[in-house]
């Protein structure tokens, strides 16, 4: 058993000796995060608050409606104006253009969410103005996040048994997307004047986990190459002439790759949080869970590639395909949220999509630790699958 640690520390020693490791695992992702963040306007925009003023009337006063209020409070688009005025007053304010809109949380909203009925918010707004479109989109998005998080949590609670959470969750979230959880009430009024502002940190908040995952997957190559190099130098064959168990050899490499990718995540999360001010610190425990399960998953994939590839060229080819396919499909470059329903479903075949969900549930959607449970489970499922394939392949392979 202790040989697992011996092999892992040997691998890490080799990796740390290699300047490419740092290049690939730290410098490139940081550079690309900055580049992409910049390209998408992460650093543009002034300091003045150009968010749209929106009234908020909570008739429900439940735990969930308070949660909803907090979510809106963090919005980059809406400046929340919490109020206890009557709905009629709010309508007036909107009509006069003093508010870009008003959200009313009806009594029973929280309960409906919990029992999985469609819970509806009321949005008072001018039909057809640009501000309304913006506010409406944001309200739908935020309410949707809460809705899907609640559903996710409920599902996990219900399926702690042996039912498959993946299928169920998928159907539920698809249903949720078809049925927007708000209803818009029209008013007639003058046009609210508000410039659409470029969203300050949302692009970095997206780019940071995206690049992190993209380059963690790029780390596959480094990891796979250690195993390929070991086979090519015939050290692997020599290892097999010692009384060292095959499974232990595999676990040793797995541990090394995991350690590498996990530390990369930690370094990049710190960079994203401290320098780019992406809100990872809200729930550090949840971020750790996502980072660890994503690292386990990616490391297992690296192991599989290392076991399958016979040459360095093959290792490169085998790594490039998942690198682009999984990152692209999983929304590491372009947020899945902006794509259609079908693409989102397909995208979630990629473990990257689940990791992105996990990170963004915390950093953008402002959800709690329970929101990372499903993404983490999905990632661990993939990790198990990849590791099983790698060890099956490794144990049936004749090394000469």
């Amino acid at each position: 058993m202790i040989r697992i640690l011996d092999i892992a520390s040997k691998d890490l020693l080799q990796l740390l000796r290699d300047p490419k490791t740092f290049m690939f695992l730290l410098i490139m992702p940081i550079a690309f995060t900055l580049l992409f963040g910049f390209a998408f306007g992460g650093f543009s925009g002034g300091a003045s608050d150009t968010r749209l003023p929106v009234g908020f009337l909570d008739q429900d006063s439940s735990r969930l409606s308070k949660r909803l209020r907090d979510l809106f409070a963090e919005s980059d688009i809406i400046r929340l104006n919490v109020t206890t005025r009557a709905p009629a007053d709010l309508e007036e304010l909107v009509a006069e253009g003093k508010l870009a809109g008003a959200i009313i949380v009806p009594n029973g909203y929280g309960r409906s969410l919990l029992v999985n009925k469609s819970a509806r918010l009321t949005l008072i707004a001018d039909k057809g103005t640009r501000a309304t479109t913006t506010v409406e989109a944001e309200v739908i998005a935020v309410a949707g996040r809460l809705d899907s998080a609640v559903r996710t949590a409920t599902i996990i609670e219900q399926t702690i048994g042996n039912r498959a959470p993946f299928q169920y969750a998928l159907e539920q979230s698809l249903a949720a997307w078809k049925n927007p959880p708000i209803a818009v009430t029209e008013t007639t009024s003058t046009i609210v004047k508000a410039e659409k502002k470029s969203n300050q940190s949302a692009s970095l908040a997206h780019t940071s986990p995206g690049m992190m995952l993209q380059f963690a997957i790029a780390g596959l190559l480094t990891a796979a190459q250690i195993i390929v190099a070991e086979r090519k130098s015939r050290s692997l064959q020599r290892l097999l002439t010692t009384a060292t168990n095959r499974l232990h050899i595999l676990l040793g490499h797995y541990l090394a790759i995991f350690t590498l990718i996990f530390s990369q995540f930690i370094a990049l999360v710190l960079f994203g949080g401290l320098i780019l001010r992406v809100d990872y610190a809200r729930a550090p425990g949840a971020i750790l869970i996502v980072a660890a399960s994503a690292a386990l998953c990616i490391a297992a994939l690296g192991l599989l590639i290392g076991v399958l590839a016979k040459t360095d060229e093959q290792a490169v080819t085998f790594s490039l395909v998942p690198m682009f396919l999984l990152s692209g499909l999983g929304g590491a470059w372009v947020p899945l949220e902006v794509t259609g329903e079908t693409f989102q479903t397909i995208g979630h075949l990629s473990p990257v999509a689940w990791a992105m969900d996990g990170f963004k549930n915390i950093s953008i959607r402002g959800l709690g630790i329970e929101s990372v449970a499903l993404p983490a489970l999905a990632l661990l499922g993939y990790a198990g699958l990849f590791f099983a394939l790698a060890s099956w392949r490794f144990s049936t392979n004749e090394e000469r």
């Binding site: 202790i2 040989r3 011996d6 040997k10 020693l13 080799q14 000796r17 290699d18 070991e230 130098s233 015939r234 050290s235 064959q237 020599r238 290892l239 097999l240 002439t241 010692t242 009384a243 060292t244 004749e398 090394e399 000469r400």
Partner: protein
């Protein structure tokens, strides 16, 4: 020979790679504490045999016992008594010599102070104590070879396989390696050695098996093998007198099988040059003739191989 004296017992091994029959029906026995060489040209199947005996490859047919453990049924037991020096250098080039030995020592189950001490000992044995902290990737071929061997010595195995350990290195490293092989034997290790250099097999081995195209074509001690061809030692001499004057006299010398002369040079075929050569000098002196040059050609495994296969050992 009691079974206890047998270190390795190989019975009817077969291994094919697709159509190619790399090993076909190989059987031999290696006694404890001896150096046993598999001598054969490139592609003879030496490495394949070694790989089977170190449990890396599964034989298609046949079995072998290493220190009483079957390679089929007890591979882990076999590995635990073994040290293997692979034909290719199997080291981590980005680690230093000491780091390599340290890692491999752990894989052989050594830890802590015992490991540190043994690594130091092995560094001395392979003559690289002063280069211990140099990266293996920067070493010369000969130095790498020595580290490659050192790794297999770490856990003081009962049996050590060395697959062509002297290929492609300088004469000095080669000497160092050959000497250390003999030293291993003197410490009681059993050595299974493969080579395509007949001089090495001849110098080192207690027993030799000649391998060609997946089969053992002959086996025995060096002397036994040489007798297979029935060839005698050939001595070529030049003299200060007419060759014809010594011919009749030398023909009568005890131990001489045949004498002939050509271009002023006399060729004598004998069974044992050590015995006959003094007698030739003695009789020449009596004739007041001086011998000005002597060239002795011992019969060798090269000749044996040629005799058995019709091909030269080295191509």
């Amino acid at each position: 020979m009691s079974a206890n004296n047998i270190a390795i017992s190989v019975t009817d091994l077969h291994k094919s790679f697709g159509e190619l029959k790399a090993v076909q029906g190989v059987s031999f026995q290696v006694q404890r504490g001896e150096i046993f060489s598999l001598l054969g040209p490139n592609g003879a199947g030496k490495t394949t045999t070694i790989s089977i005996l170190s449990t890396l490859l599964r034989p298609d047919q046949g079995d072998a016992q290493v220190m009483g453990h079957s390679i089929r049924r007890d591979p882990m037991q076999v590995k635990s008594v073994l040290g293997v020096v692979p034909q290719e250098i199997a080291l981590y080039e980005d680690l230093t010599a000491r780091e390599n030995l340290d890692f491999w020592g752990k894989m052989y189950g050594l830890r802590g102070a015992a490991l540190r001490q043994r690594v130091q000992e092995v560094l001395e044995i392979i003559g690289l104590a002063d280069r211990a902290n140099g990266r293996v990737g920067k070493f010369s071929g000969g130095m790498k070879r020595r580290v490659n061997i050192g790794v297999a010595l770490l856990h003081k195995p009962q049996v050590i396989y060395m697959d062509e350990p002297t290929v492609g290195i300088d004469p000095q490293s080669r000497r160092n390696i050959l000497d250390s092989v003999v030293a291993l034997k003197n410490q009681g290790m059993t050595v299974l050695y493969t080579t395509h250099y007949m001089e090495e097999a001849q110098e080192l081995s207690d027993h030799i098996a000649i391998m060609d195209r997946g089969k053992l074509i002959a086996g025995g001690t060096n002397a036994e093998l040489v007798q297979l061809v029935g060839e005698q030692t050939r001595i070529d001499l030049t003299l200060t007198v007419e060759a014809s004057r010594v011919l009749p006299i030398w023909r009568a010398v005890e131990g001489v099988a045949h004498v002939s002369a050509e271009d002023g040079r006399v060729t004598v075929l004998v069974a044992d040059s050590n015995l006959v050569l003094p007698r030739l000098f003695e009789s020449a002196t009596r004739l007041a003739a001086r011998i000005t040059s002597v060239d002795i050609r011992e019969p060798n495994l090269e000749a044996v191989f040629l005799h058995l296969t019709g091909r030269a050992l080295r191509d």
